[in-house]
């Protein structure tokens, strides 16, 4: 019914190739990430002017907005990995998905926390059921679900496929959830609330914001490679242990 000889060859070859590549790239990426963060944060704190309405608190935006971008970006990447697992049964796709989920959840949490810190002076409360924040919260719950399912299923292949399906179901539903939350928010909220993205972003803010965005992206790539390399080695160690146990 299925012929997967070529698939199983790929399966053996790729993780090793990936690890060699990761060994070479992680160092330079880490250095570049650090430099970009220094540049971006300097721009955010010393170059960009305070907002005429929000004053110095606007600087939270330089963390908040890139983490919101990353929350979405990571999930998009996870959805692609999920397709890789289900359609091509590619082993690295599963490793990528497994390692990306906690990172995505981390960015989402960072977005929520900075949003809350920002909201306190703006709204006067730590949490406002504003449409954007609520959508991000739901996204965080979906991330948590993916991680929880991953951890609950012990057999790695089963876990990989179940998590891939869940990720795709989440991807299909996210736009619908976003639409409903936006609609719900117009129903319940007075329109006068401060929007976190702010109506205007001053030109001199865009530069540092962009650099912070790149820095976040590189941070993600570096951490992902680090996690994936560890996961590949972990799996190899488990295999060797099993072989050793059999030899006894």
């Amino acid at each position: 019914m299925t012929d997967q000889t070529s698939g199983s060859l790929l399966r053996l070859a790729n993780p090793a190739v990936f690890n060699r590549l990761a060994d070479r790239l992680i160092g330079p990426c880490a250095v570049l990430t650090t430099l970009l963060f220094i540049w971006g944060l300097y721009g955010a704190f010393f170059v960009a002017p305070p907002d005429y309405q929000q004053g110095e608190t606007i600087r939270i935006m330089f963390i908040h907005v890139p983490s919101a971008w990353m929350a979405m970006f990571v999930y998009a990447g996870m959805s692609l990995s999920a397709l890789g697992t289900l359609i091509w049964r590619h082993p690295m796709a599963d490793v990528a998905l497994k390692c990306a989920a906690p990172l995505g959840a981390g960015f989402t949490l960072l977005c929520l926390v900075t949003g809350s810190l920002w909201g306190k002076p703006m709204w006067g409360t730590w949490w406002e059921w504003d449409a954007r924040m609520t959508s991000v919260l739901v996204m965080f719950l979906i991330y948590i679900g993916v991680i929880a399912l991953q951890q609950a299923i012990e057999e790695p292949n089963r876990a990989a496929r179940a998590v891939a399906i869940l990720t795709l179901v989440g991807a299909v539903n996210l736009p619908i959830i976003k639409f409903s939350v936006d609609w719900w928010s117009t129903l319940h909220q007075p329109a006068s609330v401060f929007r976190l993205d702010g109506p205007t972003i001053h030109g001199s803010m865009l530069g540092p914001l962009f650099i912070m965005g790149i820095a976040f992206l590189l941070l993600y790539i570096t951490l992902l490679m680090l996690f994936m390399r560890a996961e590949v080695m972990n799996r190899r160690a488990e295999r060797l242990e099993l072989l050793a146990a059999e030899a006894d």
Binding site: Q4, T5, L12, E238, R239, L240
Partner: protein, 209 residues
């Protein structure tokens, strides 16, 4: 029993990998009409895995399985799979369970009493499966082979928990089935009278590269 269309179950180059090793690799199996093949091998050699794979429940890591002569129809609709888990619900009676399976798999409900009779459990027909003994439950479950006509039987330890008399009955049923042009692959350690071919999985394990 009705005559079956001539079907050959052909599997070639099968490989199944479990972690660091292959349970088997490059395994070819052909099950022709009239054949009763006994599948043997020590525990953990992959007998159940092979049967589930042939039933189409999970894909092999390499190789392919096809049912020659089945045409366009789904392979699954020509197979019986009988495993450790019998597919009986404790809350339903023997009759209700078999009627459900007949509906699901396309069998004839009217044959239930006769099938149970052949297996010597006719009087249990309206008892909930929950109250039956292990051996009685196995017999009720085996009755579905007779209620639903399917040419290829994949049986995983069908003789477990059966007494001597029942073992003889099942052997005879498998023989009759083969006589009518059906085929069976039976994983069991007990001698099966109808056997006319064997497949041994012992010593096929090898470490993966």
């Amino acid at each position: 029993m009705t005559a079956f269309p001539s079907l050959r179950l052909v599997a070639s180059g099968l490989a199944v990998r479990r972690g660091p090793r292959f349970l088997f690799r490059g395994l070819d199996v052909t099950l022709a009409p009239g054949q009763v093949m006994q599948l043997t091998g020590p525990n953990g050699s992959g007998k159940s895995t092979l049967l589930r794979l042939l039933a189409g429940f999970s894909p092999p890591d390499a190789g392919m399985v096809k049912l020659e002569g089945a045409g366009e129809e789904a392979t699954g609709s020509f197979l019986h799979y009988f495993g450790h888990r019998e597919g009986l619900r404790p809350a339903l009676t023997a009759r209700e369970n078999l009627a459900f399976l007949a509906g699901l798999l396309g069998g004839d409900e009217a044959r239930i009493p006769e099938a149970l009779g052949k297996l010597g459990v006719a009087r249990l027909i309206d008892l909930p499966v929950r109250v039956l003994s292990e051996g009685q439950r196995r017999r009720v479950a085996l009755a579905r082979l007779l209620v639903i006509d399917r040419p290829v039987w994949l049986l995983d330890e069908p003789l477990a928990s059966l007494d001597v008399e029942a073992v003889a009955t099942v052997s005879a049923l498998v023989g009759e089935h083969a006589g009518a042009g059906g085929s069976a692959l039976v994983a069991t350690h007990q001698p099966l009278a109808a056997t006319n071919a064997t497949l041994d999985l012992a010593g096929r394990r090898e470490a993966a590269a």
